[in-house]
């Protein structure tokens, strides 16, 4: 069993997390769906019997990433739209997440669940084959949520603390290697905003 050196694992996870943060929060800020970042929607993990991603948002457990998407959409929507108040206009509030701090720990440097055999077997021709890929990482991200009101420019702020457990996205890694985009998936996501 080829266990990674600590340095190697730390470096890999930091780069993977940086890549994850850049794409995940960009997707959020573009008000697009983030459902595909979660293991729930990954066929390989589903077929291998992995439970759906554990998503807990401000204390509420969500069954699917789609519910998180819906929550984010609701957050961008002014209230009243659902209360049949026809006397107001409802324009979405641009909500943006600004990352100010993050840190990551490798919590399993030899992650094997649902790994394709090719990535499990050391390849003598590539000394680092599989290394820096089969890692499970815990990532903590915190920063500011900006709510902007387009109408008068007034802004409302919150602070958020996100904790993710990331696992390898085998499909992408097998095909595109360790520099691919979205090469890790969210197995667990805890969100709190104040």
């Amino acid at each position: 069993m080829a266990i990674l050196s600590r340095e190697r694992a730390v470096q890999s996870s930091a780069e993977a997390c940086e890549n994850f943060i850049n794409t995940y929060y960009k997707t959020l800020n573009e008000h697009k769906s983030v459902a595909s970042y979660y293991v729930t929607n990954n066929q390989t993990y589903c077929n291998a019997g992995h439970p759906p991603a554990d998503i807990c948002i401000n204390g509420l457990v969500l069954a699917t990433p789609a519910e998180w998407d819906a929550m984010l959409a609701a957050q961008r929507q002014a209230p009243g739209s659902s209360t049949a108040s026809s006397t107001t206009t409802h324009r979405p509030f641009p909500v943006t997440y600004e990352v100010e701090s993050w840190d990551a720990h490798v919590i399993n440097p030899d992650y094997r669940f649902a790994a394709p055999p090719a990535l499990l077997v050391p390849d003598p021709s590539k000394s680092d084959h599989g290394a820096g890929i089969r890692i499970m990482t815990m990532l903590t991200v915190s920063g500011t949520v900006h709510f902007t009101n387009e109408r008068d420019g007034e802004s409302f702020k919150q602070h958020f603390n996100d904790v993710f457990i990331l696992v390898p996205n085998w499909d992408i890694l097998a095909r595109h290697g360790k520099n691919a985009v979205k090469r890790y998936l969210i197995a667990s996501h805890n969100y709190r905003a104040f």
Binding site: R6, C56, N58, A74, Q75, G80, S81, D103, N108, R192
Partner: protein
């Protein structure tokens, strides 16, 4: 760009703070005033004497001017024009400041056809001079003044020969003469001041200080305005409106002052058929409460749509006499446009409750905050662990290490220093593994990750002493936890379950190096995994695999008062924990609270321990102890002999 620079600078030297940039001249820098002023005069001429505001605008557009400037927003130019007349102040200051400017006077144009224009040919002449003077370079005219004999222009020194050369050129049928002069350019300010005085007189009659009402209705019938030449040309109520509005609001520096002074405006009976003609009102007085538009000629909502996202504070609107009131959807649309609107044409259209609802719709809706969510597999591991963890972290960090950490445990802290906190960050920053700041490839990313109990223990010795609230104070904590699969099983090849615990809260900190005490907001995340079979005692079934501490630079807002407390039934702790044998009976349910709440608890605690009254306990804490519990107790021990009997709670 040379001409605009000095003039802008001179504009800034004026006494009136708002200078010429605000209000009417919003869209233009002062430097272009004169030329654009000319443009607009020309536009006015195109509309013909009978045109109302609308006809004027239409006329200006319809002429199919060649000059592109003529097709841009006529209304803005009208504004410039009025400002040119009314403001005038630019000219006074400017001529003094411009050392590299030379004054030229142009004559002979009076015989040209252009002189018949409403502006006396200013614009045509300016265009002509600039066009003809510039052969290889761009030449512009700065300030200009037209009186009955000369057209006075200010030009750059270097451009003088180019202009002087134009003597004898034929402009619109007449030969012109350009000569250099040492004479001072005639001051327009006397005319301007006179004009301003008249407009101020108009305003004085039309402002009702009791109702805070500015009555700009029926400007076309105003005797004073009618007597003024400036407005008789082209009969532009629009111009008068802008000038009046500008003078009226100019004396108020802040939006609050304006809001106070002008709560109501009437622009009734001004033949307005598109609010664009009086759009400036929304710029100058955006927080207006009452607006009278009655007796105008607004026929569709589209003609009002420029104000759609304006006047958020508008409570009362009068549209009587406008054809738009006959349309079926007018009321419902206007209610959408103006969230505060309650009274339309003297009818109540929305109750105060509905206004509140409508205003709420202007606020974003952050995701609701729910209490702690503990899903630790029904074995109470998380509360038991935390119950042990934080008291030990506050009092005996070495022991904490030996209880729960091993050679493969990871710890790191990350800090987001900010300005809003009283506590210094120095003690943390050299260890902060905030990768957002230090970069994923930095050596610090490796170095600031502490692996193994002994390294972690060394680091913790260097961190400031802390005091976390007790786990029996659920409103101080927000804790989420859940189990997850696929950790490596330390005993072999299989998978193991892990427990993730995420804690949000605040702790009291004593930064001894700086002798500062205060409250720190933190998040702390643990991954607990199965213990290794060969770990030394004390052997718990689990160990800390990963411990991440994040220190925030913000203080959480006070939690809403009425969050229900979840009380779990007392349970046998699944694991023996090293501190107090009690089982966690109350689960944390609320976000951390404000400093005040924490202080109240400290007071209560000190009171309990010392027997002092709340008042004296507070004195004790707030003195040199600076809300440090231990210091307060120490100070009590030292001082208790000197305390009066009233300091203690009377024993019944």
């Amino acid at each position: 760009m040379a001409p605009t620079g000095p003039r802008n600078a001179s504009g800034n030297t004026r006494a009136t703070p708002r200078a010429s940039r605000g209000g009417i001249s919003k869209r233009r820098a002062p430097g272009k005033t004169d030329r654009d002023g000319d443009v607009s005069m020309d536009a006015a001429a195109g509309s013909g004497p009978n045109g109302g505001p609308a006809a004027g605008r239409g006329g200006a557009r319809g002429r199919g001017r060649k000059d592109t400037r003529g097709t841009t927003r006529a209304s803005s130019r009208i504004a410039e024009n009025v400002k040119n007349f009314v403001g005038g102040r630019d000219s006074v200051a400017t001529s003094k400041a411009l050392f590299n400017k030379v004054t030229l006077k142009v004559s002979g144009f009076q015989a040209s056809k252009a002189a018949q224009n409403d502006d006396g040919g200013r614009r045509a002449l300016t265009d002509f001079l600039e066009r003809k003077a510039s052969k290889d370079k761009k030449v512009t005219i700065g300030k200009s003044v037209m009186d009955k004999d000369y057209f006075w222009i200010s030009v750059n020194k270097g451009d003088v020969p180019d202009f002087l050369r134009l003597t004898g050129f034929i402009m619109a049928g007449a030969p012109i003469t350009v000569e250099e002069t040492d004479e001072k350019m005639p001051d327009v300010s006397s005319t301007t001041l006179e004009l301003k005085a008249k407009l101020t007189e108009v305003l004085a009659k039309r402002y009702n200080p009791e109702q805070r009402l500015l009555d700009l209705s029926a400007l076309g019938t105003d005797e004073i305005l009618r007597s003024m030449d400036v407005f008789s040309q082209g009969s532009r109520a629009e111009k008068a409106f802008r000038a009046l509005l500008r003078i009226a609001t100019d004396q108020y520096k802040t939006g609050d002052e304006k809001k106070e002074a002008f709560q109501a405006v009437s622009i009734a009976r001004n033949d307005i058929n598109d609010v664009g003609q009086v759009f400036q009102l929304a710029i100058e007085l955006p927080r207006l409460k009452r607006l009278d538009l009655s007796g105008n000629n607004l026929d569709t909502l589209a003609k009002m749509s420029k104000w759609r996202h304006r006047f958020k504070n508008l409570e009362e609107l009068h549209l009587t006499g406008n054809p738009v009131t006959a349309l079926s959807d007018t009321v419902s649309e206007l209610l959408k446009w103006f969230p505060n609107l309650q009274n339309l044409n003297s009818q109540q259209v929305r109750t105060p409750e509905e206004v509140a609802e409508s205003l709420k719709a202007q606020q974003p809706t952050p995701i609701p905050q729910l209490p702690s969510n503990l899903r630790d597999g029904d074995n109470n591991v998380a509360p038991a662990f935390l119950q042990a963890f934080f008291p030990l972290f506050d009092t005996d960090r070495d022991r904490l290490i030996s209880e729960f950490y091993d050679d493969d445990s990871w710890f790191s802290l990350s800090a987001m220093p900010g300005t809003g906190r009283a506590l210094p960050w120095k003690s943390y920053m050299k260890y902060s593994r905030n990768i957002q700041q230090i970069g994923s490839r930095s050596a610090s990313t490796q170095q600031r990750l502490f692996t193994g109990g002994s390294l972690i223990a060394d680091l913790w010795k260097a961190l400031p002493p802390t005091r976390h609230p007790g786990m029996d104070q659920p409103n101080q904590w927000l804790i989420d936890c859940h189990t997850f699969p696929n950790l490596a099983d330390p005993s072999g090849q299989g998978f193991a379950m892990g427990l993730q615990i995420i804690v949000q809260g605040q702790y009291e900190e004593a930064d001894l190096s700086a002798n500062v005490f205060g409250t720190r907001t933190f998040s702390r995340t643990f991954i607990l995994g199965p213990s290794k079979p060969n770990n030394p005692p004390p052997q718990h079934p689990y160990r800390v695999m990963s411990d991440q501490l994040t220190l925030h630079n913000w203080t959480p807002a006070a939690a809403p008062a009425s969050i229900p407390t979840i009380t779990a039934a007392p349970q046998q702790a699944a694991i023996a924990v090293p501190v107090a044998p009690q089982v966690v009976t109350t689960l944390p349910v609320q976000p951390a609270v404000s400093d005040d709440a924490l202080k109240a608890q400290l007071i209560q605690e000190v009171s309990k321990r010392t027997g002092m009254t709340a008042e004296y306990s507070e004195l004790c804490l707030s003195g040199t102890a600076n809300w440090n519990f231990e210091l307060a107790l120490k100070s009590f021990e030292e001082q208790k002999g000197n305390l009066p009997p009233t300091a203690f709670i009377a024993v019944a």
